[in-house]
């Protein structure tokens, strides 16, 4: 805990208190410790934590931070898993949880202006009376914020049919590195000019601070059917997934979990999961009643063709809810196996799911790590969950090594680094697996264009040396420009 607001930094602290008041500026040892990490495994060291409430306050504290050379790391609910909100090199953690106003719901155009601190599920709850919801539904949706979803371009089970967050954001109000406020994108479906909105979504707080967002709302489907299909093996479940897609269906969601995972969830939730089975496939189809019935029938028959043990259809909204609750609480239930966990996020082409899964278990055995699996089978987005005890010496390093191997395996098979969690600190060093020097340089130049002095979330996403001719700063000191 070296970094504190001492020396010249006390001036910075005074500046912050002038803007926000003492209650909203936290810098005691304990307060800083509680903001040192998110829901993942990496820890940072914040210098100071501020609770912001308005765009103008963000602009003022960003200007102050820049003046004093203090990095700015934005944070929502802290449910991220790739350390995007972890202040790795110290700095000011800017907490958006109080910017949680749903400002305006436009029911005709199906859009809403919201603050970045609005909780994902609260937005859907607020729009339910109008028959709409916010489509991105990460497992943490009951807790995570829309701002965090935008930063990480979050996905979720229903992104199979709806796409990830970038498809649901129309415009953003952003505070820039100079403390200016700009709006990128617009309500129009096809904005002209360069798509800065597209660049900002998924930029993990490295380009600016989102202070308001115009999000798209999705009409609730007229009918929905959720099925839980038990299989003797992961292979049978994976073959079913391929069969469903090959049959030309795009279900709203196709989720899979293995036996260990089911057992951990069942122990907590008592949802009636088929814990004797080797794998469970959760399939959901939505649409008009006739189509839903027909698609459910096709899925059932494909499942039976692949040795399905049982097909359970949720008979009521409550039954559907508990099935989804079991899926979405999976990552928390893992603590029953060991005190620490690492929830991974990689993608393989759907066609290579079976062989990838086999290798995932093999890596678990080799590193002696409890490996549970729960994933978005429909789009090949794997989420191996490693349960371990970090207090055992060397254990965390082993887990990180296993994690790297998992990524390498997926990239080798034609997949990508991350499906939806973001890169943060966690996967930064693996970026060269997927991107050439030129790709990384292009991305680094975008970062430079937005944030030349590196105020925002420094060191995240792009590995060191991404910028070709990386001199550390764009313009030599004293140069005339």
């Amino acid at each position: 805990m070296a970094a504190t607001l001492t020396g010249s930094n006390t001036k910075f602290r005074d500046d912050l208190i002038r803007v926000l008041g003492a209650e909203r500026v936290m810098d005691s040892t304990l307060e800083r410790h509680l903001y040192a990490k998110d829901a993942g495994v990496y820890t940072g060291n914040p210098t100071v934590v501020v609770m912001i409430e308005t765009t103008e306050e963000v602009a003022q504290v960003v200007r102050a931070a820049r003046r004093h050379g203090i990095p700015v790391v934005a944070r929502g609910a802290g449910t991220g898993l790739s350390a995007g909100a972890v202040p790795e090199v110290g700095g000011m953690v800017l907490v958006t949880t109080r910017m949680n106003r749903i400002e305006e719901i436009d029911t005709e155009n199906r859009t809403a202006w919201v603050g970045p601190g609005v909780i994902n599920l609260d937005l859907s709850a607020a729009t339910t009376p109008f028959g709409m919801h916010f489509a991105p539904d990460p497992s943490s949706q009951s807790a995570c914020t829309v701002g965090g979803n935008i930063a990480c371009n979050s996905g979720g089970p229903h992104c199979l049919s709806e796409g990830s967050t970038v498809n649901h954001v129309l415009a953003l109000e952003v505070v820039t590195d100079t403390g200016d406020v700009m709006i990128v994108g617009s309500g129009a479906p096809d904005p002209i000019g360069l798509d800065l909105r597209g660049i900002l979504v998924g930029s993990e707080g490295t380009l600016g601070i989102v202070t308001r967002a115009l999000v798209k709302l999705t009409p609730n489907p007229p009918d929905v059917r959720t099925m839980a299909v038990a299989f003797p093996t992961i292979e049978d479940a994976a073959a079913t997934v391929s069969g469903i897609i090959a049959a030309g269906l795009i279900p709203a969601a196709l989720e899979m979990m293995d036996q260990l995972m089911m057992q951990a969830i069942e122990n907590w939730l008592h949802a009636g999961l088929p814990v004797e089975a080797g794998a469970l496939l959760l399939a959901e189809v939505t649409g008009v009643t006739e189509a839903v019935a027909a698609e459910a029938e096709i899925i059932t028959s494909i499942a039976h063709g692949n040795n399905a043990l049982s097909v359970q259809v949720a008979a009521s909204p409550e039954e559907r809810e508990i099935l989804w609750k079991s899926r979405k609480s999976a990552f928390g239930a893992v603590a029953q196996a060991a005190p620490d966990y690492y929830l991974h996020d990689t993608v393989v082409p759907r066609t290579r799911l079976v062989e990838a899964m086999r290798q995932v278990y093999e890596i678990g055995e080799r590193y002696e790590i409890i490996m549970m699996n729960v994933f978005h089978a429909g789009d090949g987005n794997l989420h191996p969950l490693m349960a371990f005890d970090a207090s055992e010496p060397g254990r965390l390093d082993k887990v990180k090594a296993a994690a790297d191997e998992l990524v390498e395996l997926c990239v080798e098979k034609g997949g990508v680094l991350s499906g939806e969690h973001g890169i943060g600190i966690e996967k930064r060093h693996l970026m060269p697996l997927l991107f050439t020097e030129m790709d990384l340089d292009a991305q680094a130049r975008v970062k430079e264009a937005f944030d030349a002095e590196g105020v925002f979330n420094p060191g995240k996403v792009l590995p060191e040396g991404s910028r070709c001719f990386d001199f550390g700063r764009p313009v030599p000191e004293g140069a005339w420009v």
């Binding site: 805990m1 936290m26 005691s28 040892t29 304990l30 307060e31 410790h33 509680l34 903001y35 990490k37 998110d38 829901a39 609770m51 609910a77 802290g78 449910t79 907490v95 949880t97 109080r98 949680n100 601190g117 909780i119 599920l121 609260d122 943490s140 009951s142 807790a143 995570c144 969830i265 907590w268 939730l269 609480s329 999976a330 990552f331 928390g332 239930a333 893992v334 603590a335 029953q336 005190p339 620490d340 966990y341 207090s391």
Partner: protein
């Protein structure tokens, strides 16, 4: 530095939190401030930080822990099943031990000695009745005014039930020991009468052990751990031999169920079985030992006390009882009403804010009656509803409905 008492949060309790954050939106204090320090995850991380020597039990730690309502809404939503309530009591015991100033020690003494003594409670009851009848409650200090306003009409003296036994007509289904509690006896006598009447009618033999005392929940929640342990030991001995210990205040039944942490092993044998009154009455309705009346009584706003819903996971029983009484119910958002034991006195602002929200919701619900199975919540609701609604325990409403049905038959 570090922890010093046997009540401290343990490594295994704390490491069961994996910091996923799913508890955050369910925490009323996090909802108020948006701060990690005011969330269950933050508080558990803070407790671990003390264990690891990262910080001591300083002012920031004490504030973080004492701002918690102890509603335990984080527990049912925790997939890792972290025993949050237990760790909170442990952390508060440590704060008392290490930072125990005069007021805190005095509070601990009051909670053990006053609440545990029928004689002192009689004096308090008499004084409270005097305050109530002279209208002095209107000029009472703000911290206690809300509580006083929420009280039922208090009699000068209520005859004690201790030492009495109530027999059913037929061979008893089981013997239950009724906890009369600290304030339930003198201030909520009707809830005891309804409980005994329903239990006897359901076939239970009800005993009221005379050497019982306050359950110790308020002391435990406040960090007066030694006192709480002494009270628990006395009750464990007093209730020996009954099939079930039954309490009709959710806070008491929840705490009695946690006695394994408070009463030393030998005082608490394996047969220590505790039930909230709503469990036994609901079971009896389901078994047909108590009747289901026809519909047609008013709409009841059903408040779920945190120590019923979150601590004991008793969710459906109060509704079943009210439906058996012929009432329809409308659910109220389960978030804490802000009463939270002594919290309303210690932190009147936060308490009042939550109380007002709850009262507003009840006013919008269209209900004509309010039911709550915990005395603290009942007082808070009555106070913030400013006398517009009757607020009663579900078993009282059920007994009233049974009596009315009998009269109309006769």
């Amino acid at each position: 530095m570090g922890y010093q008492t046997p009540y401290a949060p343990t490594r295994s309790e704390l490491s069961s939190c994996i910091q996923c954050g799913l508890c955050l939106p369910h925490c009323p204090t996090f909802r108020l401030t948006g701060k990690e320090t005011d969330s269950p995850r933050g508080r558990l991380t803070a407790m671990a930080a003390v264990l690891d020597g990262i910080t001591g039990i300083d002012e920031v730690f004490a504030e973080t822990i004492s701002f918690c309502l102890g509603c335990r809404a984080c527990e049912p939503v925790c997939p890792s099943m972290v025993p949050y309530g237990r760790t909170l009591e442990g952390a508060r015991a440590e704060i008392s031990a290490q930072r125990g100033g005069v007021t805190r020690r005095l509070r601990g003494w009051v909670m053990e000695t006053w609440l545990g003594s029928p004689a002192i409670m009689r004096v308090i009851t008499w004084t409270t009745a005097l305050v109530q009848q002279t209208g002095l409650d209107r000029i009472a200090p703000r911290r206690v005014r809300s509580g006083l306003r929420g009280l039922r009409r208090i009699g000068w003296r209520t005859p004690s039930l201790r030492g009495r036994t109530f027999q059913p007509d037929q061979a008893p289904v089981a013997t239950v020991g009724l906890l009369t509690g600290c304030i339930m006896g003198p201030w909520f006598a009707d809830v005891h009468h309804a409980s005994i009447a329903l239990l006897v009618r359901a076939g239970y033999r009800v005993v009221v052990p005379s050497d019982q005392t306050c359950c110790g929940a308020l002391a435990a929640h406040d960090g007066a751990a030694e006192g709480a342990a002494r009270l628990a030991a006395r009750n464990a001995a007093a209730f020996r031999g009954v099939d079930y210990v039954v309490a009709n205040a959710a806070g008491c039944s929840a705490h009695l169920k946690d006695y394994r942490h408070w009463a030393p092993g030998e005082a608490l044998d394996e047969g220590w079985q505790v039930r909230d009154i709503t469990e036994l009455v609901a079971d009896a309705v389901e078994d047909g030992r108590l009747p289901r009346l026809e519909e047609g009584r008013g709409l009841v706003a059903l408040q779920h006390p945190c120590h019923l819903r979150n601590a004991q996971r008793i969710v459906t029983q109060p509704q079943l009882i009210l439906e058996a009484a012929g009432h329809r119910t409308t659910p109220i958002d389960p978030v804490c009403c802000g009463a939270a034991g002594f919290y309303s006195i210690l932190r009147p602002d936060t308490s009042a804010r939550l109380g007002r929200d709850k009262a507003d919701e009840i006013r919008r619900s269209g209900a004509t009656l309010v039911a709550s199975a915990n005395p603290g919540c009942e007082m808070q609701l009555r106070s913030h509803l400013a006398g517009e609604y009757r607020v009663l325990h579900p078993v009282e409403l059920y007994l009233q409905a049974l009596s009315n049905a009998k009269e109309s038959q006769a």
